[in-house]
Structure formats: structure tokens, C-alpha cells
Amino acid sequence: MIEPFTVPFMGRALTEIALLALICGPVSVFVFVRRLSFVSDALTHTVFPGVVVGFVAGGIEGLFTGALVAGVLTAVALTVLTRSARLTDDAATAVLLTAMFSIGVILVSRRTSYTSDLTAFLFGRLLTVTPRQIAETAVLSVVILVALALGARALLFRAFDPAGAAAAGLRIGWLDLGLNIMLALVVVAAVRAVGTILVVALLIIPAAAARMVTDRLVLMAVAGTGLVLAAGYLGLLLSWTASLRYGVALTSASAVVLMLVLAYLLLLPVRLWRDRRRPALPIPLPRRSPHELVG
């Protein structure tokens, strides 16, 4: 069970996942609490044109910058759009997502074959992550964790009581922008290594799964980190075994995501059981959140 990870590239892959676990455990709590799942998903699509432009303009080095610019632009656009009326948050997010992704597709389709680029973009290259990328992820994790530690109180106040926070003098617009930019940073930094599919999963699933067993935010963050570590380990193991033993080309990113989803599904009954012991009355929900579905 340890043996595969003594192979250098597997070890590096696991290290990268571990660092991402450290970042995404806490960040996913904010995504959960502020219902930013759609925004996270949108960010993974909107960095696409940035990646293409950056790559075309500056090669491999330019990728990161391009993605970063696109990500920050998205964060700003979303923050601005959702504060004005007439266009609902979710429609604005959807249109921004599709528009930017389409720009990326157009840019890319001018080149001859883009399917392999697309695959790399979607699934990343976890198994070819370099020590340099690991170092960059480590730096990012420090930056994000410090930023979260400093801003946690304000962000949580705004999340649970926007009116009260505004009355207390907190600038909601700047807080929202700050969080959106933080998300963009995580997406941009992680996309190269693990691809967009896994990034979205890492931002959304840890807190959602942890919520099944606890309703205390700090515990959710810690449990989320733990879940990502476990899913990373098992997923890498799974894709290693699948390709070596059975010849199935399962990407490691897919495997890790599937492990995360499995964890979520397995924990779901725990939540139902907990709710049964303390029966919760159906709360009439104000249907004004953009990410809320019917009912």
C-alpha cells in the first residue's frame, strides 16, 4: 500500500494533493457557507481563455499569468454583476462561464489539434507534477491560510448576517471580492497540476461531506482536509493499480474525484441518521439565494 508511493512521481503527486488538502479544507468551508459552488465551477471554465492566451503569448510560463488575469477578471466581474439588479446571480454566472469558455474554444480551435490540450486542462497532469510546482503550491498554501486566518471573522460575519456586518462597518463588496479572488488563486494554482474537474471537486466536496458529520466550522475544515488526504491516497492507489494491473487508463484526477464523491455518498446516511435523532422542523427557506434550487 505504500510501495507505489516510493516511486518518485507518485510521491510528488501525493505531496501536491496533501498541500492542496491543506488549502482546500478551509477554503471549501467558505464555499459551502457562502454557496459559492457555482462560482467555483465557473472559475474553472473562465480561466480557460486565460490559459490559452497566456500559453500562446508566453509559452509554459505565460500560462500561469494568463490564467491568473482571467481568474481575477472573473472574480471582479462576478462581484460587480451580482451587486446590480435585473440579472440574477446564477444567470450572470452561467453566462460569464459560457462566454469565456467559448472565447477559449475559439482561440484554441484555430490551432489544429486541441483535444489533448483540453484533456490536460480538464484533468491536469498530476503524475508529472514537478518539484517547482510543489514549491509554488506550498507558497500558495501559506498565503491562503494566512489570509483566511486574518479574514475569517469578517468573512463569517458577512456570510451569516450580511445586514449586521454592513451595519458594523464591514465593506461587503470588498469582502466578497476578496473571497472571489482567493478562489480564483486556488483555481489557477491548482489547475495546472490537477485539472479543472478535480479543482472543482476539491473546492466543493470536502466541506459538503464534512457537514454530514459535524456542524462546527473548524471541525468541517479539519475533516475536509482529512478527507482530501484520504481520497488523494486512495485515488492515486486506484489509478496506479488500474493502469498497472488492468491496463485501464484511469486518470488519477478522476480517481481522486470519485473517491471524494464516494466519501460524500457514504456520509450522507450519517447525516440522515443524525437528523432523525434530533428531528429538525422544515424551515421555510427564503428562495432568494442564487444557488438554491426548487423548494
Partner: protein
């Protein structure tokens, strides 16, 4: 039938049909804030389609089955808390896609299936596809027309509707399944991204122009079809990806509508309307 033999003719017909379909359902999606759900559906139908092609069953069927499972599952989960609903939808997006990708990995042709799923292949639509799209359009139009009242009441005020004897949760499911039907029909032709774009952008633009549901629906259909045709034209003239062009045309319609409305308000001297909290 030599008119149908021309690729461009079929593509144009498909664009018109798809435009009508997405415009029709789009208003419901925008008004009920179901854009994220629709996005999740496009990803969730992916494993169903792949599984169906592996098993050898009709692809649409596979998509409908997984789509329905997802729709019902999420509807059941959302009766509870809003945060869980958003998270559950997010789980479905990444889970569905990863599952589909995993299934695809078990056969060959990995990258090709993936990109056509995302981006679609409107230029390879067949006469049979057209017939299916037309049939689905008829069904959806019928459902939305006949059930307009209960859908409106249940959508606007589920509690009041229930007190009036309308089964609000049942009607929610009807709407969600209708969206599943549209997504499953449209995604193979135009891809996930474009499907979302055509469903949301024209309807959002139409909403800017009218507060009345029937008018907005007609406008949405008009915008969607126009975007489709404009996108196709640009794509064939300048040799760029068709799906992406259509998507950007739809976005342009929205941006234009927003801009014109804004100018109109400035010209009339009214302040920007904000939504009462």
C-alpha cells in the same frame, strides 16, 4: 430529399429547433434560478450517455435515466437546507464528469468523446437527430402550455399553492424532468457549454425586456434562434468553432439588451432599479 442532404441545411434546421427548445425552457430556468442545476445536469448526463454507448442502448435513453436520477436526487436533497443543495449540485457536477471520464477511459477514443461532449458537433447532425429534436420540442411546448398555471403558482408561492390544493413538489419534479429532457436532447448536438449558454443567455436577455412570462418566452425563443443563425454564419464565414460562435452571439444579445436597457433608463432619468431586499 436533397435539401436535407446538405450539411449546412441540416445544421440550420437543428439550430432553429434547438433555439426554440432552449428559449422555451430557458425562461423557466432563469425565473426559477435553476442555472446551476442545469449546468450540473449537463455534466450528470455524461456518464449515462457513455454507459449507454458501452452497453449498446440508445444514447438518449442513457442520458435521460441518469438525468432523471440526478434531478430527483437533488430535488429530494433540496427540501432541506440551501447550503446543502448548492453543495449537492456541485458534487454532481464533478462526480458526474469524473464518472463519465472514467467510463470513457475503459474504452478508447478518450479525448474525442470528451471534447464533443463539451463542445458539441452541430455540423454532424443527422436527419434522425432533427426528427428527435422536433418531437421533444413538441412535447415540451405542450407540457409548458397545458401546465402553465400549476407551474406558475408552484414556482411563485409553493406554500400558497399547497394550501390551494396544488402539489407543489410534484410540479417541481415535472419541471425538473422537462429540463432533463431538453438538456439530453440538446447536449449531443451543441455540447454542454453551448447548451447552458442557449438556455440561459437568451432568456436572461428576454427578461430584461419584459415582465410578462409569455412575452419573455417568445422573445427568448427569438433571441436563441437569431443567436444560433448568427453564430453559424460567423462560424462558416470566418472558419471558427460553430458552437462557441453561437454561444458568444447569445451572450452578445444579452450584453446588448442590458446596455440598451441601461441607456433607456438613463435617458428617461430614472434611477437604476435595485431589487427590494
Amino acid at each position: 430529399m436533397n435539401w436535407w442532404d446538405d450539411v449546412m441545411h441540416r445544421a440550420v434546421t437543428e439550430v432553429v429547433l434547438v433555439g426554440a427548445l432552449t428559449g422555451l425552457i430557458g425562461v423557466q430556468v432563469v425565473v426559477r434560478r435553476l442555472s446551476f442545476f442545469t449546468m450540473a445536469l449537463t455534466h450528470a448526463t455524461f456518464p449515462g450517455v457513455v454507459a449507454a454507448s458501452i452497453i449498446g442502448v440508445n444514447l438518449l435513453l442513457g442520458g435521460v435515466v441518469t438525468g432523471a436520477v440526478v434531478a430527483l436526487g437533488v430535488a429530494a436533497l433540496t427540501r432541506r437546507r440551501g447550503q446543502d443543495a448548492a453543495a449537492a449540485t456541485g458534487v454532481l457536477v464533478s462526480g458526474g464528469f469524473a464518472l463519465g471520464a472514467a467510463l470513457v477511459a475503459m474504452q478508447s477514443g478518450f479525448s474525442r468523446d470528451l471534447s464533443s461532449f463539451l463542445v458539441g458537433s452541430i455540423l454532424t447532425v443527422s436527419a434522425f437527430d432533427l426528427i428527435v429534436t422536433a418531437a421533444v420540442l413538441a412535447v415540451v411546448a405542450l407540457v409548458l402550455l397545458l401546465c402553465a398555471r400549476p407551474l406558475l403558482y408552484a414556482g411563485f408561492d409553493p406554500v400558497g399553492a399547497r394550501a390551494s390544493g396544488i402539489r407543489a413538489s410534484g410540479w417541481d419534479v415535472v419541471l425538473l424532468l422537462t429540463i432533463v429532457l431538453v438538456v439530453v436532447t440538446v447536449v449531443p448536438a451543441v455540447g454542454t457549454i453551448l447548451a447552458l449558454s442557449l438556455i440561459v443567455a437568451p432568456a436572461a436577455a428576454a427578461r430584461l425586456w419584459s415582465d410578462r412570462l409569455p412575452v419573455a418566452t417568445v422573445l427568448a425563443i427569438a433571441f436563441a434562434i437569431t443567436s444560433g443563425l448568427a453564430g453559424l454564419y460567423v462560424s462558416s464565414s470566418w472558419n471558427v468553432a460553430a458552437g462557441a460562435s453561437i454561444s458568444l452571439a447569445a451572450t452578445a444579445a444579452l450584453v446588448l439588451s442590458w446596455g440598451l436597457q441601461r441607456l433607456g433608463r438613463i435617458a428617461r432619468g430614472t434611477r437604476v432599479r435595485t431589487v427590494p431586499a
